[in-house]
Symmetry: C2
Subunit: 394 residues, 2 copies
């Protein structure tokens, strides 16, 4: 079974947008037992698209084509599909009716350019799009099933989940779902972790250990066929032992969500003040629906950070205040205060890693501070030795 | 001239990370006159990589391979290059010396796994990496130049700019730099704009009009060879006329930066309070280095939004306060107050577009509010008819 994704569009090829659809599709299909074997990107060039469809259909069992179904003249996918298959484009009445229903429901007129979206190859089977005007369609070419999907991420995802996945399961009923164990670490380098794990762990055949570094965290991932689960479980327990002190969570919960769970469990409320990180930490907490009563970004706090944190916690009537100071570029220091009902923690953190852009530093500082909160809520000491910061408790 | 990018790594192929390097490379090279003709992604599978290198090198003049140069066992690019070229991997003493210098400078020991990073195909020419331990290298295969580059974005970018671009310019000295005009609109749909422009504009040959929709803004892009600049200029002026009322800026400055420029020009300071948008607008303004004295995210404001805005502006001693309320899901309304020394503007905005995720709504609301500030600073009425919101001035 070979499944390839073909992303189309000058804006993807020439990098004006980041192709998040392909990352999402690959992850989703992988988890369903349909790992994508390769990915290809082409621009809005009709001849190149036709060639690609012909060539790639010979190499694959399934080709998922994304983008180019919009109403504008640089949306060429339907035409390319028809040309690759030596057939004509015809208006599919079924989809015209669906679009008319769509626009009527929303009380908006159907633009004449939308009509183009029902012009599909004659042999095409329509794939429903419940949330937009670009229908998907399926065409067979050289024994390969070509699924054409819209570029708008929300539309694309619904179509893949509700329409394409069930068809793939029908086409390949004997898929063995892969097993994937994941955990996320903070505070060690990828090469250091890898050196330790690769000298200590013996991986079963067809089981892979992968690393994903997303500044400042590193995710470890053990992947293999479902038939090897028992052996993998054993290796996974060993692995967890080696990275115990640096593990922030198992699975894919994410640090902001984990902190939210811990706060909620304990019935604690939080308020946050930031300087250098400019609201990034609070935004992540809001996104995770943390019990955050409010947050602020200040510049040039007048009083000491400790006094500030205490006053803030009182003003907002919360159980915890977490205050992140400014980054002092010259000294490379950064202060954090965690004020709780029982105790006030005050740390000066000295940044000891390589120089990165402001955005990266903001990511690192907000992750480290959030992890201090996690450690506090889990009954651990707030900091352990790590490659990012030297901590001095003040 | 055919230039292809080959992205490697299971974490890219299986979607655990979004491949931002490829978007960046494509955009960068496009602007330099070296448009990438296609892109391919492969996982960490040695045989597949070797096959890909052989196959793609036959199709292209230049292949830029990204990723797989790290110190861990799933970093296979150097080995695949050697195998594809039927040669052996040898330790390049030149790079060992460079890494020793690198670690000595940082006072850290060189891990034994780092040694692997100097194991390169025998025929490889080293390409310097001034900011990391993964060197790039160049290998020739089937008449194609294969550049191998590290996956870490900061390292990748430096290497492309400082090392690979100069080599491309040497290889292809007669490149015509393309011309690209851009502007960004807010408030109309892509299909509506396209229908108008495509019926009105006559594009010169080889000149393309592209659309990039990044909720809620739409970028228009006129691209063509430098030799057509005069004709393109004429079309561009016409195009600008058609979308005048919805244009928020020309070029690529971005809305937060533009607002920052307008504030700075006029010597005005700003404070911001947000609810539903959770600090997103402020974060973008800080990132653009706007004269923002502080910002906050509150929940459940007690007083009226107008009183709140006035008090906030006074408290922070700023010229302007911009306050964004909560989103009332049932009524689909959202209040915005812009308090200035001269006047207090108070709008109720009713969201009239399709339902999107919270993240998308946050993007839409913060962009619309920021654009209201832009319009105020530019002496325009705060709102014009648009597809997102119906505005009622209160």
């Amino acid at each position: 079974m070979r499944i390839e994704m073909l992303s189309t569009g000058d804006e993807v090829l020439y990098g004006q947008i980041v192709d998040t659809n392909s990352a999402w599709l690959s992850d989703f299909l992988f988890q369903q037992g349909f790992p994508i074997t390769s990915r290809v990107t082409a621009g809005d060039n009709l001849n190149q698209l036709v060639d690609m469809l012909r060539e790639r259909s010979k190499q694959n069992d399934v080709l998922i084509v994304n983008g180019g179904l919009g109403p504008t003249s640089d949306d060429l996918s339907a035409l390319a599909a028809a040309m690759a298959n030596n057939e004509e484009l015809v208006e599919h009445a079924e989809w015209i009716a669906e679009m008319e229903r769509y626009f009527a429901q929303r009380g908006r007129p159907m633009s004449p350019t939308n009509r183009k979206q029902a012009m599909l190859p004659k042999s095409a089977t329509i794939i429903n799009n419940p949330v937009g005007t670009a229908c998907g369609f399926l065409v067979k070419l050289n024994g390969c099933s070509l699924f054409f999907t819209p570029g708008v991420p929300s539309e694309f995802k619904v179509m893949v989940k509700d329409e394409i996945l069930p068809r793939l399961k029908q086409m390949f009923p004997n898929i063995v779902t892969p097993v994937c164990y994941r955990l996320t670490t903070l505070g060690r380098s990828e090469s250091e972790i890898a050196a330790e794990l690769e000298s200590q762990l013996k991986l079963p055949e067809n089981v892979d250990l992968g690393y994903r570094s997303a500044m400042p965290i590193i995710e470890l991932k053990l992947t293999g066929p479902g038939t090897k689960q028992a052996e993998m479980e054993k290796v996974w327990q060993q692995l967890k032992g080696y990275v115990r002190d640096n593990t922030i969570y198992e699975g894919t919960v994410g640090l902001p969500k984990l902190v939210t769970e811990l706060l909620t469990e304990k019935g604690l409320s939080l308020t946050v003040s930031e300087q250098y990180t400019a609201g990034l930490m609070a935004y992540q907490l809001y996104d995770a629906e943390a019990p955050l009563t409010g947050s602020e970004v200040t510049r040039n706090q007048q009083t000491s950070l400790v006094e500030y944190a205490k006053a803030l916690r009182q003003k907002n009537h919360t159980d915890i205040a977490l205050v992140l100071g400014d980054y002092k570029q010259e000294q490379k220091t950064f202060e954090v205060v965690l004020d709780t009902q029982q105790k006030t923690y005050h740390y000066q953190l000295k940044y000891i890693s390589r120089i990165y852009s402001r955005t990266m530093l903001q990511d690192i500082f907000s992750t480290v501070a959030l992890d201090m909160l996690r450690r506090h809520l889990s009954g651990l000491s707030l900091m352990t030795p790590n490659i990012w910061m030297e901590a001095i408790e003040l």
